[in-house]
């Protein structure tokens, strides 16, 4: 449905994108737009200030794109029915990761996942595939660094109910709850936790992130039955997901708010942080910063008189979270 007249500027939100084409939502309508050549030129000048030419393949490879899902843009309708994006509003925040590299020696670059978020919802399956808690710590640190609150969701809880794995999982959950992160246990089979999830997502823009096969799209189908997003079971041989969702898309929720479904990620590299500031984004470590013998210069690794190491030994900080912190710092 396109009701706007040509040459009138309209603002909307990017809800979907494919190579070079962006779907902009404006109220009930949606328009497919391209980016104006002037914006490309400005983006080139911003990205490569030394006058280097942008690689023409970059956009095709989805490596660098000035527009991401959730961006608020201004567009005008062209004669052929498509729109042209003429302006991108400054982002309130954005969630980004270090893009996966095809080989270790390849150039690392930022991959913005979504912009203008109210909350990030890292999703992990209780089993199939088993949860990777260091990866959760990465999601949480990335969200904390952007100032976006996180709500942890555990799916497929029915798979471990009554087993020994349930006790182990609840112990880990308690660790994150003590830090202050809300956690919702869900099951698409029994419907457990779906109402809680609906309530926390109401009137907010949320991004679902997690590994392939954890049930992001399944959860979304349960929350909004009309969406009909394609889902698949995990591979029974490998126990891993099948990368069913391949592009980001924003969906509007019936009770207000919007949700961004993302493809599963194998890795989530931290981008744009210095090793020295990682501890700032661990909420349990934050109050201890500056209390070490070497003050703010302490690396919290081998230094004597480190307040954070002492807190780990005293049981105030989880050794698993501390190990995650050290690994994240080493990766940067």
């Amino acid at each position: 449905m396109q009701t706007q007249n040509t040459n009138t500027l309209t603002s909307g939100v990017v809800i979907n994108k494919s190579t070079g084409l962006y779907t902009i939502s404006h109220g009930e309508d949606s328009v497919i737009c391209r980016l104006s050549p002037k914006l490309w030129k400005d983006f080139d000048a911003m990205t490569f200030p030394e006058g280097k030419q942008r690689d023409g393949l970059a956009v095709n490879n989805k490596q660098i794109d000035p527009v991401v899902i959730g961006d608020r843009v201004t567009y005008t309708l062209a004669d052929h029915g498509q729109g042209i994006i003429v302006d991108i509003a400054p982002r309130r925040n954005h969630l980004a990761r270090r893009a996966a590299k095809p080989m270790p020696s390849a150039h690392a670059f930022e991959q913005v996942i979504a912009a203008n978020l109210d909350q990030v919802i890292p999703i992990f399956a209780a089993a199939e595939p088993p949860p990777k808690w260091p990866m959760l710590d990465r999601y949480l640190v990335a969200a904390e660094s952007c100032g976006i609150p996180s709500i942890i969701v555990i799916t497929k809880f029915d798979l471990i109910k009554g087993h020994r794995a349930e006790t182990e999982l609840l112990a880990v959950i308690q660790r994150y709850q003590e830090i202050g992160y809300p956690i919702i246990l869900t099951s698409a089979i029994s419907g457990q936790g779906l109402e809680d999830l609906r309530q926390v997502m109401a009137d907010k823009t949320s991004a679902l992130v997690g590994k392939s096969g954890v049930g992001k799209s399944t959860l979304l189908n349960m929350l909004e039955p009309g969406l009909g997003i394609r889902v698949q079971a995990v591979n029974p041989t490998t126990g891993k997901g099948r990368h069913t969702t391949t592009n980001l898309e924003m969906f509007t929720l019936a009770n207000g708010g919007a949700i961004i479904d993302t493809p599963g990620t194998r890795e989530f590299g931290i981008w744009g942080l210095n090793p020295g500031e990682i501890a700032d984004y661990f909420p349990e470590m934050r109050p201890l910063l500056g209390q070490c013998r070497f003050g703010l210069s302490c690396q919290h690794d081998q230094e004597p008189g480190c307040a954070i190491r002492k807190a780990v030994m005293d049981g105030q900080i989880s050794p698993y979270r501390y190990k995650s912190y050290l690994r994240m710092k080493a990766d940067l």
């Binding site: 182990e168 081998q302 190491r309 002492k310 050794p319 698993y320 501390y322 190990k323």
Partner: protein, 162 residues
């Protein structure tokens, strides 16, 4: 929570004596090279099991004694097994036992056995709490036969050979 134990085979510089230590299993004979072969000191890095690297203490662990694994012969009779080194953290006092590696200095191992720390009773008590039975002077033949293949070797003889 299950922890994936990392393969700890990275070369390192000993924090006690400063020696560069090759951690390859071909030279050490063990998968996890967890102490310096020259001074036998270790570092307090593991919390729940070997290689988990979850401990934040990271202080030096001094060699305080020797123990041995209990193995059984074909008739299920107990007999002394592999020789193990007992380490104690110099900061928090935690005890751990580690396999003696092929390239560990045998004279240093003998010295650890011969020169027990002065607070031996306290150490024995701590070891008992951890289920470790320290080898004492009555077990000299076990240590010597494990290290040198001779039960009655004297330390003076070893020094004269070296």
């Amino acid at each position: 929570m299950r922890t994936k134990v990392q393969a700890v085979n990275a070369d390192f510089i000993c924090k006690h004596c400063g020696a560069f230590v090759k951690a390859h299993r071909a030279t050490s004979g063990v998968v996890n090279r967890n102490h310096c072969p020259y001074c036998l000191y270790s570092q307090h890095l593991d919390l729940c099991k070997a290689g988990d690297r979850l401990c934040a203490c990271k202080a030096l662990m001094a060699p305080v004694g020797l123990t041995h694994k209990i193995s059984r012969d074909k008739f299920s009779h107990k007999r002394p097994g592999e020789l193990m080194l007992v380490h104690q953290c110099q900061y928090c006092g935690e005890l751990s036992i580690n396999r003696v590696a092929t390239d560990d200095d045998p004279l240093k191992l003998t010295a650890v056995f011969e020169n027990m720390p002065p607070d031996i009773d306290q150490l024995h008590k701590a070891c008992q709490e951890h289920g470790i039975s320290l080898l004492n002077r009555n077990n000299r033949s076990i240590v010597m036969s494990s290290l040198f293949g001779l039960a009655s070797v004297e330390i003076q003889d070893l020094l004269s050979i070296s």
